[in-house]
């Protein structure tokens, strides 16, 4: 394990120039407070870990290690382990740091040197400051502290205080979050308080914007206030020359200024235009004409009012009434127009529908026309259907009669031809004698008769057929003809209805156009003379009258003032003086308003500071973050308890062995440690030779000190630290004989295994250590401008 052989310090902290310390197995550094003892110990630490001193906040800035009178510093540390040497050299200037490590014939620099160094010494800065560099705080808390403080000191040895450190930072953030949340709640509450104000400015951003505008506005008004004050002083001086006369004519002047001010105000309204009554009269005439036109609807009384009213008030009231009445009439007319338009549209639609129906009927009639024509032709040829039927019956009857005659004549003709052909002399029917000639004549006559009857029968037959065909066709056409007649009749009706509808539509349209024309004219009149224009005309007329009155009165007052000896210049000065006072009052009053507004807005921006939605979101985020940190914190506490348990278990395996090697009085044969269940604190105990168990509270300070060191050494053992030295920086600052004695004994025991450095401000302790270990080296550390180390 590495032991410190040589320490070379140059311009380090309180050491000016170069100083070399050759160390032994036990090294006692003695000196008053601030002499430079700790600087020697820091020099070792700096050589081993460099920048870590700054990172661990042992020093605020690394450059603070450089002596105030120098620009750079250097530490060279030589360590030895058996025959092996490790040389570490660190140089620090304000521009940066250099490291050189020499070991085993190699010279390494920079990052490579850092890695090799860490590897060789087997301990990082963290382990070093826990288990190598043992401060008085560690020992004190363990020896004298409460159970909690003792646990904290053991946690420090175990490195568990890292968790506490993290938890402390988390708790600090939690406090900050709670403060933030409280602040946001206050802001939200202020937002509620000033909600109406903020809304008035269209949101918080509007309020902020208004605040910046207010500053500009206030600055401008203050400048104006200053100008007016200067002007007022000047006018007051000039006015003092005319003061007595001005006071004598005070009442006239007051009236004069009042009238002048009113006149100016009225002229400002009219824009300098010379108002006359013509516009008003034109409006009156136009309204009167309209009322006359609609007298039948509006009544005579209104017309009389318009014609006969003399004073402006009555006349303007009558004009307003007439305007209202005409407006109402216009609304009625517009309603009528709508109604008429509806009627017109209904008639037009009906006419269109009838036209369409008529067209359909005409098409249907054209389709039936041919059948009707044919029926008429048949009727013309065969008469009415009933007549034709009667003719057919007659024709058939005649044909049947002829058929019967033909049968008879056929028989007669057969007999006659038989007699003729057979030459019979007697009749075969009646037996009477027959002559040949008579028979031949008879046969001839029968033939002729028969032939005539056959031809007649053929004619009837033909006629009957003709009649049958005509009747059949007429009957077939009969339904069509009836439909034709019905359609024709309906068509005539539709045409009549259409003509009537078209006539009404034309009438409605005419009435509509007339009403629209009237309505349009009235509307134009009312739009030209709307109520505002009417009121404006009345107001202008009224103003014009008042202006005329004021001008007249001003002339009178000016005459009166002239008679009282007041010149135009004096009046002018007095008037300007009064105006300046009024302006100043207005400015002051406005400034007061703006100051009030600014104070309110400043309060709003200061106490609210953002839009409500944003504030709410921030509050939610802060509370959520707080809950997350709480969760992490509670889990870290659990980690801490579990790590305590594990590390204690590991340390316990070596604790007893190390303790017994240090503590050789024989009144304690065993030490042990557990975690108490309730609070998770470490519970150390010792066992006497008689087997009696003692809690740590019952042990002496020296025994407790031995246990503390045994614990640290046990941890060193299991942590595989390759540094073979121990440093005690002001270990026992208290004047306590017993603990001092115990400590000296412990150092003697430790010196058998380790190289020891003890820095103390107690000369007594230093001498006592030297006395008990004569081979130890005693260094006196003094400071005269610069620190020095002298070996005694």
């Amino acid at each position: 394990m590495w032991r410190v052989e040589r320490i070379e310090i140059e311009n380090f902290r309180s050491y000016r120039g170069r100083h070399v310390i050759l160390s032994g197995d036990v090294n006692i550094l003695w000196g008053r407070v601030g002499a430079g003892k700790t600087s020697v110990l820091y020099a070792i630490e700096y050589a081993l870990f460099g920048r870590q001193l700054e990172v661990k906040e042992r020093v605020a800035r690394l450059v603070d290690l450089i002596h105030s009178g120098a620009d750079e510093m250097r530490i060279a540390l030589t360590l030895r382990s058996g025959s092996s040497t490790l040389c570490i050299e660190r140089q620090l200037a304000r521009g940066g740091e250099k490291l050189i490590v020499r070991h085993g014939g190699e010279e390494l620099r920079g990052g490579e040197a850092e890695s090799r160094l860490l590897e060789l010494i087997g301990a990082d800065e963290d382990v070093y400051e826990r288990l190598v560099y043992i401060s008085h705080r560690t020992l004190e808390d363990f020896i004298y502290g409460t159970a909690r403080k003792r646990s904290t000191s053991v946690d420090r040895l175990f490195g568990i205080d890292i968790v506490d450190g993290v938890v402390r930072v988390i708790a600090a953030f939690e406090r900050a979050l709670i403060e933030r949340a409280e602040n946001l709640r206050r802001r939200l509450s202020a937002y509620e308080k000033y909600k109406e104000v903020i809304r008035k400015y269209g949101g918080y951003a509007g309020a902020v914007s208004r605040l910046s505008e207010l500053d500009k506005e206030i600055a401008a008004l203050r400048e104006r206030e200053r100008e007016l004050t200067v002007m007022l002083d000047e006018l007051a001086q000039r006015r003092s020359a005319h003061l007595s006369r001005l006071k004598e004519s005070e009442s006239i002047l007051v009236e004069y200024y009042k009238a002048k001010s009113e006149l100016e105000a009225l002229e400002a309204v009219t824009g300098g235009e010379d108002a006359t009554a013509s516009t008003f009269e034109k409006i009156r005439e136009a309204i009167k004409e309209a009322v006359e036109e609609y007298e039948h609807a509006l009544g005579r009384e209104l017309l009389d009012k318009l014609t006969k009213s003399q004073d402006l008030e009555a006349l303007s009231a009558a004009m307003m009434e007439a305007h209202d009445a005409l407006a109402r009439l216009l609304r009625d007319m517009e309603a009528q127009v709508l109604e008429l338009r509806k009627f017109h549209e209904q008639y037009a639609a009906k006419a269109r529908r009838l036209e369409s129906e008529i067209a359909d009927m005409e098409a249907r009639l054209r389709r039936l026309e041919r059948g009707h024509q044919r029926f008429r032709e048949l009727q013309k040829q065969y008469g009415q259907l009933e007549s034709a039927k009667a003719a057919l019956l007659e024709c058939k009857r005649r044909f049947e009669e002829l058929e019967r005659g033909l049968a008879l004549f056929s028989a007669l003709r057969t007999i006659a031809h038989y007699i003729t052909e057979t030459g019979l002399e007697r009749c075969p029917v009646c037996g009477s004698a027959l002559s040949k000639d008579a028979i031949e004549a008879l046969a001839k006559s029968v033939d002729e008769k028969f032939g005539g009857m056959i031809r007649e029968a053929e004619r009837y037959k033909e006629r009957a057929r003709e009649l049958e065909r005509a009747i059949e066709e007429m009957e077939a056409l009969n339904a069509e003809v009836l439909e034709y007649l019905s359609v024709r009749s309906r068509l005539e009706e539709l045409r009549a209805e259409r003509d009537e509808t078209v006539r009404r539509a034309v009438q409605a349209e005419k009435a509509l156009r007339e009403l629209e024309r009237k309505g349009e004219r009235l509307k134009m009149l009312l739009s030209r003379i709307d109520k505002r224009a009417l009121l404006d005309a009345v107001a202008r007329y009224s103003r014009a009258a008042r202006i005329r009155e004021l001008r007249r009165r001003l002339r009178e007052l000016e005459d009166a003032l002239r008679r009282a000896g007041l010149t135009g210049e004096a009046i002018e000065i007095d008037m300007r003086w009064r105006e300046a006072i009024e302006s100043l009052e207005r400015v002051t009053s406005r400034l007061a308003e703006l100051y009030r507004e600014r104070a309110l807005l400043e309060d709003v921006t200061k106490s609210v500071g953002g839009e409500a939605e944003e504030l709410r979101k921030e509050l939610d985020a802060a509370l959520y973050a707080y809950s997350k940190l709480e969760d992490i914190k509670s889990k870290l506490m659990l980690v801490k308890l579990r790590a305590r348990e594990r590390l204690l278990e590991a340390a316990k395996s070596k604790l007893n062995e190390v303790f017994l090697s240090l503590y050789r009085y024989g009144d304690i044969v065993k030490v042990g440690a557990d975690l108490e269940g309730r609070r998770g604190y470490y519970d150390f105990h010792a066992i006497a030779p008689n087997g009696e168990r003692y809690g740590i509270a019952k042990l002496s300070d020296g025994q407790r000190l031995s246990i503390a060191l045994a614990l640290a050494l046990a941890l060193r053992f299991i942590s595989n630290v390759q540094l073979g030295f121990l440093i005690f920086d002001d270990p026992i600052p208290y004047i306590d004989v017993n603990i001092r004695k115990a400590f000296i004994e412990l150092v003697r025991g430790l010196a058998e295994q380790y190289q020891v450095f003890v820095a103390t401000q107690s000369e007594e302790l230093a001498r006592a250590l030297r006395a008990i270990m004569p081979r130890s080296k005693l260094f006196a550390v003094v400071k005269n401008g610069s620190s020095e180390v002298r070996e005694e």
């Binding site: 990172v55 661990k56 906040e57 963290d126 382990v127 826990r130 175990f158 490195g159 568990i160 890292i162 968790v163 450190g165 993290v166 402390r168 930072v169 988390i170 600090a172 953030f173 406090r175 900050a176 979050l177 933030r180 979101k617 921030e618 985020a621 802060a622 959520y624 973050a625 997350k628 940190l629 969760d631 992490i632 889990k635 870290l636 659990l638 980690v639 579990r642 790590a643 594990r646 590390l647 590991a650 941890l715 299991i718 942590s719 595989n720």
Partner: protein
């Protein structure tokens, strides 16, 4: 060894999720850079949660 033990226990308690990684970063930050480093890590973490707060120096 000392810090390794804490890290091992931390992984058991926190698991290997985002929160576990954060806790590990906090421990290592403290070891290497003290409270200032932890403050930086926490500050960054809180920013991811939409909160920008600084803790006071102890």
């Amino acid at each position: 060894m000392l810090v390794n033990t804490i890290i091992e226990e931390l992984r058991k308690v926190f698991g290997s999720g985002d929160e576990g990684r954060l806790a590990e970063r906090l421990i290592l930050a403290y070891k290497d850079g003290g409270t200032r480093a932890v403050r930086l890590v926490l500050h960054e973490y809180l920013k991811t949660l939409g909160v920008n707060v600084e803790s006071r120096e102890n």
